[in-house]
């Protein structure tokens, strides 16, 4: 189903969503950042950006989330599972790369057991993506088999066709349902083939060459050379739409507490520290290698998907200007030479 959406109708869209009981998330300007966040009106929406600073991840896998709460009475512990965490929501204006991360992560969250927090939120949230009309040098979706107008993971894809109009393509039934629910907001496309305004993202490396090299180069001096500057923070993993590691902690007073799931990241020294004091990944090059290996080898082997959508956030945010596509370029051009 193809429709168009006029900018002038953004307001009715947001109001419409509100009326239909949706919570709306959209890009908002926040000082120096553009953040996906709840909006109440179309005025708050900001679309003049390459990429939001946060990804859609936090709406499916919050940075911190209660997975159960408990009360400790004398000789008795009673537990309560959270409810109502999955709220009917529309994410409006996320990028195709972000949306593409969702089916990739579906695999891990439905693997050995189904993670109800992820699954229920996935059901409750409709993703309306806007194809990128611009990009920057950090973007590399085209190098990971995606594109600025990929439909993977989106329920609805919007593509700019003029300064004040978007082409609306439904991708899923859920998307179609949403469009139907708010029919009046959308227009029928004018005749002819509209000119889609889509960014041209340079292809930086051959993804096919990456895994074979990784298969052979668990030991390679490149890891250390590239990562000496890494300061071991978790910024890259936290902004990444596909990094999904978490930690579980109990936060409690004397008589009650919450079991909490928090983002965690493989770049932290503590991530793999054993109680014994032994750390199987004791140096930063090992941790950097882990990040690359997980994304481009282990995940591929397990789930047949690379765990990267080429959004470039990790490189943009890196305090030490580590650049993941640069690393992958090195790998892809290393001629499979083992040291």
């Amino acid at each position: 189903m193809e429709k168009t959406l006029k900018k002038e109708n953004f307001n009715s869209l947001i109001t419409g969503l509100k009326d239909k009981g949706y919570k709306t998330i959209a890009p908002k300007k926040d000082n120096n950042l553009v953040m996906l966040d709840e909006v109440q009106s179309a005025d708050e929406i900001h679309l003049d950006h390459v990429q939001t600073n946060n990804s859609v991840k936090e709406f499916f896998l919050p940075k911190t989330e209660k997975i159960l709460s408990y009360k400790i009475e004398k000789n008795k512990v009673s537990m309560e599972e959270p409810e109502g965490f999955a709220v009917k929501t529309v994410i409006f204006g996320s990028r195709p790369c972000d949306a593409a991360s969702l089916p990739v992560m579906d695999k891990v969250f439905n693997w050995d057991c189904s993670d109800k927090f992820w699954v229920e939120r996935r059901e409750a949230i409709t993703v309306v993506t806007i194809a990128c009309d611009k990009c920057d040098s950090y973007c590399f979706c085209t190098s990971v088999n995606l594109a600025p107008d990929s439909k993977e993971g989106s329920d609805v894809l919007l593509t700019k066709i003029s300064d004040d109009e978007y082409l609306v393509e439904t991708v899923t039934e859920k998307g179609e349902g949403l469009i139907k629910e708010l029919e009046t907001v959308f227009s029928d496309p004018a005749g002819g083939t509209p000119e889609r305004q889509i960014a041209s993202v340079e292809k930086k490396f051959e993804i096919d060459k990456v895994k074979p090299w990784l298969d052979e180069n668990f030991v390679n001096k490149v890891w250390a050379e590239f990562s000496t500057k890494c300061i071991g923070c978790g910024a890259c993993t936290f902004v990444c739409p596909t990094c999904h590691c978490f930690d579980i902690v109990d936060e409690c007073t004397m008589s009650k507490g919450d079991r909490v799931k928090n983002w965690d990241g493989c770049q932290f020294k503590m991530f793999t520290l054993h109680t014994s004091g032994h750390n199987p990944r004791s140096t930063q090059d090992q941790r950097w290698r882990q990040r690359i290996m997980h994304k481009f080898k282990y995940y591929v082997e397990k789930f047949d998907n690379i765990l990267c959508v080429g959004c470039g956030r990790c490189s943009r945010v890196c305090p030490a200007d580590m650049n993941i596509s640069e690393m992958l370029e090195i790998i892809a051009t290393e001629d499979n030479q083992k040291e």
Binding site: K23, P62, T64, K66, V87, T89, T253, D258
Partner: protein, 153 residues
């Protein structure tokens, strides 16, 4: 304290063993009455009180905190209270800068002989915090806890 019509502030007091704790004992010995809102935690010296203790007390619902030890020059450990004084001289403005009313974190020197001063001080803390009202900001973030994210999404 469950009477909702009247707010009773909840105060945690961190006292040094040698001076203020003994001063509070003296108030007891002298049967000097004071408001019962305070829960005392005894440590050897004010110098041994980490600001984290104060933060934790707020996290556990305190509306106000008192830290009290030996007068300058009287520290049982020579200089513990001097170091403590430095610590609070920077920590309190930091909390104030973050929007915490400085009256919620009070400091005093009360000697083992000053039972009366203990009574005055603790009543003063209770009254001033009562006037400020419940520490709603902190109570709120305590109550939200990890629900913050789900509230957001």
């Amino acid at each position: 304290m469950s009477d909702e019509t009247k707010f009773e502030p909840r105060i945690v007091a961190f006292l040094c063993n040698w001076c203020t704790y003994a001063g509070a004992d003296l108030a007891g010995t002298g049967r000097k009455q004071y408001q019962a809102n305070v829960r005392v935690i005894k440590l050897p010296c004010t110098g041994g009180i980490d600001p984290l203790f104060l933060i934790k007390a707020f996290e556990r619902g305190a509306d106000g905190i008192l830290v009290s030890g030996c007068h300058p020059g009287d520290c049982h450990y020579n200089s513990g209270n001097y170091h403590a004084r430095r610590r609070w001289n920077v920590f309190r403005p930091l909390l104030e800068f973050c929007g915490i009313n400085p009256e919620r974190i009070q400091f005093s020197w009360i000697s083992a002989a000053e039972g009366g001063k203990w009574v005055e001080t603790i009543n003063g803390v209770v009254d001033s915090v009562r006037a400020l009202g419940p520490f709603e900001g902190y109570h709120k973030i305590n109550a939200i806890g990890p629900d913050a994210s789900s509230e957001k999404s």
